[in-house]
Amino acid sequence: MAPTVTDDLELILAGNGGGTDLPAGGGGGDGDRPGGSRRVPQRAYFTLVQLLLAAIVMFFMALTSSYIVRKGLGTDWQQTPLPPILWFNTVILLGSSVTIHLARRRERAAFRPWWALTIVLGLTFLGGQLVAWKQLAAAGLFLDTNPSSSFFYLLTAAHGLHFAGGIFALFYVAFRDWRRSRITQATAADLAAIYWHFMDGLWVFLFALLTLGR
């Protein structure tokens, strides 16, 4: 049966339909890698990160709606005074998004210091979160004190754990031997940066929720 017009049309419309014969599939500027990952195109890694973010969004949306529902139940909600250091932490985190962006745009030589600075800022953020916890504890507010404080610790811990995963990713990008990998360090840095910016945005959202909800 000769290929029909509809077959041709389908191939044209296939768009995403494979390209396993093409060198170094889409996304991510992978020109320095001959052949690329022919069997697993680069864009697969970007798909993976985006899907991961979707799953994480659902997790935090469940926590957010729990927050809203629990607050609306009325009787025992007491405002949790938010430690002012959280503002400082937020600025640090936003700064780290800037530095990671700058790192990606730089050539190899300048990449390392900006990447390292991002890691430092990230660790500073986490440290600042722990300080916030200590300050709250000093004020007598613990995980089980009241629902508002429960959510504060829960949301900051959940974000912090995911964020720590992001820091681990930054270390991984910096120290793994990328010559023996299916993707380049540049691509890995791009992937880590997407996750990093998302963690930044997520914190801004959670901070706004905690501030407005208090």
């Binding site: 296939a14 494979g18 069997r39 697993v40 195109p41 469940a62 629990r70 009787t75 089980d144």
Partner: protein
């Protein structure tokens, strides 16, 4: 040999050594079989638990040997909880999707393996760990939890003072489920990425076999739903161990203690979170079976799928609507009748794509030259049971009727027919179809047909009478109703159901024997024993380690080219090159 360092070539090289080949394998085919074996173990464990339940229900005064005499009500509830949890999580969520999907998705789309083999391996072993954690609840001093697979709070949240099994047993359950969520998320990530990015040349979305569409939408459901369950489990764990009050309300009294440390929590919040996950979960259980049914009905009727595009739309519609109907599990929770109306309407709307699929299955069969293989019979059985089980769902979708039916055997009948039978038939159909490809030997067809008929008759005998019990007002999750005046006359129905259950469970041993015996002594399988059209039949049985022996597969047509006019054979495989096909005239 092309290695990773050279940047091109294989996703992973051929494994050597026993551990790499069979234990910590990166090969999606091995991982798929590992999932199937986990599901096989779990289904027999789950059946054993249900057998104990059924024996107690029929003869409540009998002494059960290893349960220390007559079964206590709390022991019965522990069986209910673990039977449900193991069957839903370890059988229905793993076998159709992670088992068959893992094995056949990459091959059907022409890929060498899943996009991320290491993540794939991790997802299986994480599932394994979650099973161990959950099952260990049986072995702690107070035993397994008694709050049902739905773990409603406050029973599941307050800890050991709530009852036997509610201490360590419940905590292990929650942790086990949380681990399972992580494992499922890992699997979903892999499935979707593989489908989106690793399809072979010519394999456009509308040429995908319907099995792949089903695995695709199922993976999306899993990606979006399991995060919510994970959040719920975290909150529950904190309530249990850290003194928080997300779910536990104030003023609860347990025997003589008042729980003053908790106040203001919402048990309804747990229900919302759980069922927001729980409803997509049941579609995760059934969608792959629907994909398999479409695939098999077409293959064995030697006809294209009737209305392929509508089938794709229906799968997507069911998936989307599945997120909109969770409230129908909560009609009696005190919700506003306006909310109930909305959920009811949306639930009935799911009937539309479901009906489209059912009628298209019938349309696929109409005028076909049907080959009644064991696989086909299970596929036909799937359609029958899906209709039967689905119809009772329409009754339950009416809030006014559900006021009566909720927590009765009518619900038990509904979800067992749909999940415990139709989905299982989907698994059996897939097994009989793909066993030759996976293991290189044919299953015995005669035994398969005996297995089918005994099971088909058996499951109807078990679950149809339960509708009657429900209409008569028989509540579920009750260990012994012989002391209840208006339920006492129904006891003979329980005995009938139990005898049917014993008979049906025994019939599964035929399958088990067939499965094990044919591994070595079954007739050797050719590459394409069913004259099917999809890519897995292009390669040897079992396939080479990289699926296609290094060849870059190309797809030239849709997946259901059966009975094409003017063509010598009654099928054209997806991978047959056009010039070669025209020469076949």
């Amino acid at each position: 040999m092309v290695t990773d360092a050279e940047g091109g070539g294989h996703v992973h090289s051929a494994p050597t050594g026993f551990i790499r080949k069979y234990i910590f394998s990166l090969d999606h085919k091995v991982i798929g079989i590992q999932y199937l074996l986990l599901a096989l173990f779990s289904v027999f464990l789950g059946m054993a638990l249900s057998l104990l339940m059924r024996v107690h229900l029929a003869w409540p005064t009998w002494k059960i040997p290893f349960m220390g005499g007559v079964m206590k009500p709390e022991d019965y509830l522990a069986l209910v909880t673990m039977h449900g949890s193991i069957m839903v999580f370890m059988v229905l969520t793993t076998a159709p999707q992670s088992g068959f999907g893992n094995y056949f998705l990459p091959i059907q789309i022409g890929a060498e393996d899943m996009a991320f083999p290491v993540l794939n391996m991790l997802s299986f072993w994480t599932t394994f760990v979650s099973l161990v954690v959950m099952a260990s609840a049986f072995f702690v001093p107070e035993g397994a939890p008694i709050s049902g697979w739905t773990a409603y709070v406050p029973l599941s949240a307050v800890g050991e003072q709530a009852g036997p099994g509610q201490g360590a047993g419940q905590t292990l359950w929650v942790i086990g489920v949380a681990i399972f969520c992580a494992a499922s998320l890992m699997g979903a990530l892999n499935f979707i990425t593989t489908l989106v990015d690793l399809r072979a040349k010519g394999m456009s979305l509308m040429r995908l076999p319907l099995t792949c569409w089903a695995w695709f939408v199922t993976a999306i459901l899993g990606l979006l739903a399991f995060g919510v369950l994970l959040a719920a489990c975290v909150l529950l764990l904190l309530d249990r161990t850290a003194g928080t009050s997300f779910f536990i309300p104030g003023g609860l009294v347990f025997t003589d203690q008042v729980l003053i440390s908790h106040k203001g929590g919402s048990p309804l919040l747990w229900q919302h979170l759980f069922w927001f996950f729980g409803h997509p979960e049941v579609y995760i259980a059934i969608l792959p079976g629907m994909g398999v049914a479409s695939h098999l009905l077409s293959t064995f009727a030697r006809k294209p799928v009737f209305g392929y595009k509508a089938m794709v739309g229906a799968i997507c519609g069911i998936g989307f609507l599945g997120f909109c109907v969770w409230g129908h599990h909560m009609f009696v929770s005190g919700m506003s009748p306006y909310s109930a109306f909305a959920f009811s309407l949306l639930t009935m709307t799911i009937g539309v794509p479901s009906a489209i699929k059912t009628f298209n299955w019938l349309g696929t069969l109409w005028g076909g030259r049907i080959q009644f293989t064991a696989s086909m019979m299970f596929a036909l059985g799937f359609v029958s049971l899906f209709v039967t089980g689905g119809l009772s769902g329409l009754f339950l979708a009416q809030p006014t009727l559900d006021l009566y039916f909720h927590d009765t055997y009518f619900v038990v009948a509904h979800f067992h027919l749909i999940m415990g039978v139709a989905a299982i038939f989907g698994i059996f159909a897939a097994m009989y179809f793909w066993y030759p490809k996976m293991f290189g030997h044919m299953l015995n067809e005669g035994l398969g047909k005996v297995h089918f008929w005994l099971t088909f008759v058996g499951v109807y005998a078990i679950f149809m009478p339960m509708h009657y019990l429900g209409i008569a007002g028989h509540e579920r999750r009750y260990a012994d109703t012989t002391g209840v005046n208006y339920l006492k006359p129904l006891q003979p129905v329980h005995v009938f159901i139990t005898i049917a259950a014993i008979f049906t469970i025994a019939a599964q041993l035929i399958f088990l024997f067939n499965f094990l015996h044919s591994l070595k002594w079954g007739k050797k399988a050719a590459d394409n024993p069913w004259n099917a059209t999809t890519l897995e039949w292009a390669v040897s049985s079992p396939p080479p380690f990289d699926n296609f022996g290094g060849k870059h597969m190309q797809v030239y047509r849709g997946a259901y080219e059966f009975g094409v006019a003017g063509h010598a054979e009654d099928f054209i495989p997806q991978y047959a090159e056009p010039e070669k096909v025209s020469q076949a005239h």
